[in-house]
């Protein structure tokens, strides 16, 4: 028999019992819909998790530190030096050895300037950022580490420096009584009484453009902060500030720098990338040496950092970038085997992943149960169909129909029920998913800027139907979708429903095959 003929007979037979076929297909539709929607909710959770993780920064970064060295404290006191003699040292040799590890893209030591520094900019240094954080990294690893420039270019000379993305907002105006400019960090909003809505804050212009404004750093071994700022914030600090300035030996180092670029903020690659200054390691070592010189005779406690400016520097921490997220655990275990402490977001990522997988399994299980019920429906329909058509099957066999063809015929019927149910179910779940997303977005959009999505810019109140529809279909950076159906889920749903149909049609089909031709010949009917 040709397959076209089998298909034609199969359609005829399905149409013969319209209501029964319809009800069975309906069962499959419901089952397919529930499994697709359940998985899509799981996918929605996944999407939100991923967004959350990306907002946390570059997840492929592993931070390496020694047992003694604190996390970002940047001190190599006597206690820690004895500790590091037991464990591995974080020096240039170690950095080189990290580079040769498998799955490592880039390695850079990270130094934080261990002195209080004030940055000044503008005419006469009117803009002041007291206690600015300065980070030293290996600029040759800049690209490999995944650092990105928002503007400008990398520094090439020692008097050149990079600004953190938001560092300009940290400056105060000493001529305007310490006025500041604020940066709206997403999410935040101000209640507007006129409209009765919370309107998202808008960024104010910073005082100056870092790329065109020269910076001056002021520091010293005993430097405690800018006198203006000390006075401005007064209180107990003023006393300390006055003693600092009156102690006489307040030798300061002043360094003129040129900002060549603005680095994109990423907390995972150093706080200074967002609210600080980033300079080359070599330049920082030179700066430290210079500052140390100012306090050489002053205090012995300040001499201990001097050792860290020599070529055999023990770094506070080293950042290692894995070539891929999947390499992170591997790289971490290699580093741990070398005797270092590591930290990364891998644990968080993993636990989030496990959690969402568990949720997906539960949701998928619920969906699977309803599809199983539908499958039993298919089996029931096919069993009925076979027993109704016993005589016809006998006739076909008597007339020389191959057993194989009869089996294929019944399997095709069962598979067709599954396929049709699967297709309609997938289409229906697409609509339901769309509706859920749109209602969800509308609710989120109506109740303030966006609680779940991260800052939907200016589109607070004007959520038209079409923007909702577009966002619900394609998603987006600032869109929270509760139900996400990837293309493979549709394919999977249709295939799965068809296979379920075939599987549960197999028994009845075999039953049909075993009906003897003799049944048709008998006259006693």
């Amino acid at each position: 028999m040709r397959f076209a003929d089998i298909l034609r007979l199969c359609v005829q037979n399905l149409f013969r019992r319209k209501s029964r076929t319809f009800l069975t297909v309906l069962g499959v539709i419901v089952g397919c819909c529930s499994i697709v929607l359940m998985v899509s909710f799981g996918q929605g959770i996944n999407e939100q998790n991923e967004k959350m993780l990306t907002s946390m920064g570059d997840l492929s970064i592993v931070t390496v530190y020694t047992n003694g060295g604190g996390y970002g404290v940047g001190m190599s006191g006597p206690g820690s030096s004895s500790g590091s003699s037991e464990s591995a040292k974080l020096d240039d040799k170690a950095v080189e050895s990290f580079r040769s590890l498998a799955g490592v893209d880039g390695v850079t030591p990270v130094m934080t300037l261990p002195y209080t520094v004030t940055a000044k900019a503008g005419a006469g240094g009117r803009y002041i950022y007291d206690s600015v954080q300065i980070m030293g990294i290996d600029m040759s690893q800049f690209d490999k580490m995944g650092y990105k420039l928002k503007d400008g270019s990398k520094p090439v000379k020692d008097d050149q420096i990079l600004a953190g993305e938001w560092v300009t907002y940290g400056f105060i105006d000493s001529l305007h009584n310490g006025a500041t400019r604020t940066h709206a960090d997403g999410g935040s909003c101000t209640y507007n009484e006129a409209t009765g809505e919370c309107e998202p804050d808008k960024d104010e212009e910073p005082f100056f453009d870092p790329l065109t404004t020269p910076l001056t750093l002021v520091s010293g071994a005993n430097y405690v902060g800018d006198p203006y700022v000390q006075n401005l914030y007064g209180g107990g600090m003023s006393g300390a500030g006055s003693t600092g300035s009156t102690s006489g030996d307040s030798q300061t180092v002043s360094l003129d720098l040129k900002v060549t670029g603005v680095v994109t903020g990423d907390y995972n690659k150093g706080y200074a990338t967002s609210d600080g200054l980033v300079m080359d390691l070599g330049a920082m070592k030179a700066l430290i040496a210079k500052i140390n010189a100012t306090g050489s005779g002053a205090s012995s406690s300040a001499s201990s950092p001097a050792s860290s400016s020599t070529s055999a520097t023990n770094y506070d921490q080293v950042l290692v970038k894995a070539s891929d997220l999947s390499q992170v655990p591997d790289v971490e275990s290699q580093l741990k085997a070398m005797g270092y402490q590591t930290s990364s977001y891998e644990d968080i990522r993993k636990s989030l992943e496990d959690q969402s997988r568990a949720i997906q399994l539960i949701l998928g299980g619920i969906g699977a149960v309803s599809l199983l019920v539908a499958a039993i429906g298919i089996a029931n329909t096919m069993v009925m169909s076979v027993s109704e058509r016993t005589r016809e099957i006998g006739i076909m066999k008597a007339l020389g129909c191959y057993v194989r063809d009869i089996r294929v015929m019944f399997l095709t019927e069962a598979g067709a029920i599954g396929f049709i149910g699967g297709v309609i179910g997938a289409a229906l779940s697409a609509l339901v998913s769309l509706g859920v997303n749109m209602v969800g977005m509308w609710l989120a959009g109506g109740s303030g800027s966006s609680f779940l999505g991260s800052g939907s810019g200016g589109s607070g109140g004007d959520l038209s139907f079409w923007t909702l529809l577009r966002d619900a279909v394609v998603g987006g950076e600032d869109v929270t979708r509760y139900s996400v159906i990837p293309w493979w889920l549709y394919l999977f749903a249709v295939l799965f429903a068809t296979c379920i149909g075939l599987l549960f049609g197999f028994g009845p089909a075999n039953k049909a095959v075993r009906i003897p031709a003799l049944d048709a010949i008998r006259n006693d009917r």
Binding site: M1, I395, M396, A398, G400, V403, L518, I521, N523
Partner: protein, 227 residues
């Protein structure tokens, strides 16, 4: 064409074994219209089932055109039926969801003949049995005589060498019976086909070239009618 040798068929029941056929020997040449005649329970239907390979014999064998039917497996049997055998049933046994043309074309469909070709053949043979105006009617829309004519058309559509007819007129009125028998015989003569006709009706048996009478599973009479 058909050779039956020492055929024996038993049906084991709970307390005794019923012997339906006992040492039947029969030889039907090509082109002969052979009537197997007997009262009900004489074993004539069992013999037909044996000849058509519907059941395996207890002993002995059936050979059609050199092929030992009783030794074929299910698949070979299906292929053999497609090529060499046709059936006319007492209760017509048409497929209720297929119309006249589709019913007649069914044996050709099993062979894999394309739809247009097989339905053209089916339409031709339906016109010959006088159903040219009922080609697209469904079995429920036709009388018993019309249904049986569709059944006959179906049995002959593939031009089989042997056609088995099991009480083909059993459910028909006396006038239609004659039409149906005429039709079967005319097809058989045209194509030089062998017909095995099972009946308990004397009037029908008269159409045959030869009448084999069965009684209690044995051949008790075997004579040519001189047609």
């Amino acid at each position: 064409m058909i050779e039956v040798r020492h055929l024996r068929k038993e049906y084991p029941t709970a307390d005794e074994t019923v012997v339906a056929l006992e040492d039947v020997n029969l030889s039907i040449p090509r082109g002969q219209i052979c009537c197997i005649y007997g009262e009900s329970g004489s074993g004539k239907s069992t013999l037909l089932n044996q000849l058509a390979g519907m059941e395996k014999p207890t002993r002995g064998g059936v050979r059609i055109g050199g092929v030992v039917v009783s030794r074929l497996d299910e698949r070979e049997l299906a292929a053999f039926r497609q090529r060499h055998l046709g059936f006319v049933f007492q209760s017509y046994n048409l497929m209720p969801n297929l119309n006249a043309v589709e019913n007649v074309a069914m044996p050709l469909m099993f062979r894999g003949v394309p739809k247009e070709k097989r339905e053209a053949v089916a339409r031709g043979i339906l016109r010959r049995v006088g159903l040219g105006k009922r080609l697209t009617h469904y079995p429920t829309q036709m009388s018993g005589g019309q249904q049986q004519r569709v059944g006959i058309a179906r049995a002959f559509v593939a031009k089989p060498e042997v056609v088995f007819a099991d009480e083909p007129t059993g459910n028909l009125d006396s006038k239609t019976k004659l039409d149906v028998m005429e039709m079967i015989c005319s097809f058989a003569r045209d194509l030089d086909q062998t017909i095995v006709l099972v009946t308990h009706d004397d009037n029908m048996a008269r159409y045959a070239d030869r009448i084999v009478t069965l009684l209690d599973g044995r051949v008790v009479d075997d004579r040519l009618t001189g047609n």
